[in-house]
Every structure is written in C-alpha cells, then in structure tokens.
C-alpha cells in the first residue's frame, strides 16, 4: 500500500512511502503509523484519510494496492 502525506505530517513521515504489512482498515493504519512515529500520534488522530480522492471512514477496508492520502486539518484561506 502506498501512503501520501501532506503539510505538517511531512515533518514526521516521508512525503510518499510504501507499507508492506497487511493492514486491513483505516483505523489500524492510523495505529500502525502512530506506533511507527509516536510523536505524530496527536496529529494523526486529527487527520482525515482518503482513497481514490474520496474521504473514507475508520472502518474502510484497505487493499494492498490502495493509495492512501492522509489529510491533516485544513488551513487554507
């Protein structure tokens, strides 16, 4: 699965990276990333996740070929 990060998340993770582990849903992916970098736990908890340009919920089932975009709280304007 390929992960894309944005904005402040890039202070904690690479802009793009792959995960080989079999992670079945968004909530588990969030936990996995928080364990990989505990300093990012709070910001990850505030993020939205998107697959195929649509926001998905915590129970969304992930597939190994998915591209997951992790969307921090917006700060446009």
């Amino acid at each position: 699965m390929k992960i894309y990060t944005y904005a402040i998340l890039k202070d904690y993770f690479d802009k793009e990276f792959s995960i080989d582990e079999n992670i079945s849903n968004v909530a588990l992916l969030n936990n996995f990333l928080a364990q990989r970098n505990p300093a990012a736990k709070d910001i990850l908890a505030a993020c939205r996740f998107a697959v195929k340009d649509n926001f998905v919920t915590n129970d969304f089932e992930l597939q190994p070929e998915d591209q997951v975009h992790i969307i921090p709280p917006s700060s446009g304007g």
Binding site: A7, P72, P73, S75, G77
Partner: protein, 156 residues
C-alpha cells in the same frame, strides 16, 4: 486545475468575468497575506494542496452555494506555492440579484474552503522560522474531523 493557481491571482481579470445582467450585487472577498502572525514578522506564506481533491471540492462548494442562493456567478480560486505579504491567497466572487444573498453565499464559500478543502498554509517568518498554521480545530469541539463549526450559520 480550475480553482487552484500556482501563479498570482489577477483580481481585475476575475472580477471582469463576474458581471451578469441579472445580478444587482457582486461581492468579492480577497484573503491576503498579513505581515505578522504569532507576534512575529511574516516573510511569506507557502500553500500546499491535495490538488485533485481540492479542485473538485471547491467546485462542489460553488455548486452548493449557487443552488442555495440562486447565484448567477460563483468564482473561487486558491493559490498554491509562495504568496508574498499583501498578495491574494484566495479570492471568492459571488454575484446575484441582491446583496444579502451575495454576502451570505460568499461567506459560506470561504468558510467551507477554510474548514474542509485539503489546502494547507505554512507561515515563513523573517527570523528564519516557519510554522504550519491556522489549522481547522473543529474536531476539538465536535469530536469529528468532518463536522465543522462555521461562521456563517453554526454547526453543519
């Protein structure tokens, strides 16, 4: 990208596209870079976006506003990249029959963009520091990252 621009936004040019024979009111909002934030002097802002999502979401917000307030024209463009002090970071133009609807729709659009659209601002200061800033923190209030508190009319 129709609603994102990596280049300076030409406000007179955009405004020229917003006149309509049935519109008695045009409201233009320009969000611009301030020279200070967090007690420090701002050098410039830098905006990043998840561009495909942001462009589609702004289009959807404009469509919602057009239907709700019967707008004749609705325009929104947000910058990406470096935006200098006093330059426009985002512009929203609404045109319709009467001013109350034009103002309300304009505020709706900018609120929705600020809270929902995946665009992020990084503030660069003259002391060499930087800070990702102004994040939507509605989750602290609503408990849901997708549930926001808007200025225009409470929780949506």
């Amino acid at each position: 990208m129709q609603h994102l621009s990596a280049h300076t936004i030409n406000i007179p040019e955009l405004l020229a596209t917003a006149h309509h024979p049935k519109a008695g009111a045009i409201v233009l909002f320009s969000g611009e870079t301030r020279d200070s934030s967090h007690g420090k002097t701002v050098s410039h802002l830098d905006y990043e976006a998840q561009e495909t999502m942001a462009d589609k979401m702004i289009a959807d917000i404009l469509q919602q506003a057009t239907q709700r307030w019967q707008l004749n024209i609705a325009v929104a463009v947000h910058r990406t990249g470096k935006v200098a002090v006093s330059e426009t970071a985002v512009v929203v133009i609404t045109a319709c029959a009467h001013r109350s609807e034009a103002y309300a729709a304009n505020r709706f659009i900018i609120d929705k963009i600020k809270h929902e659209v995946p665009i992020w601002k990084c503030e660069y200061f003259t002391d060499g520091s930087k800070e990702w800033g102004g994040n939507c923190n509605c989750k602290d209030i609503t408990g849901d990252a997708n549930q926001h508190v808007y200025e225009f009319d409470g929780i949506k």
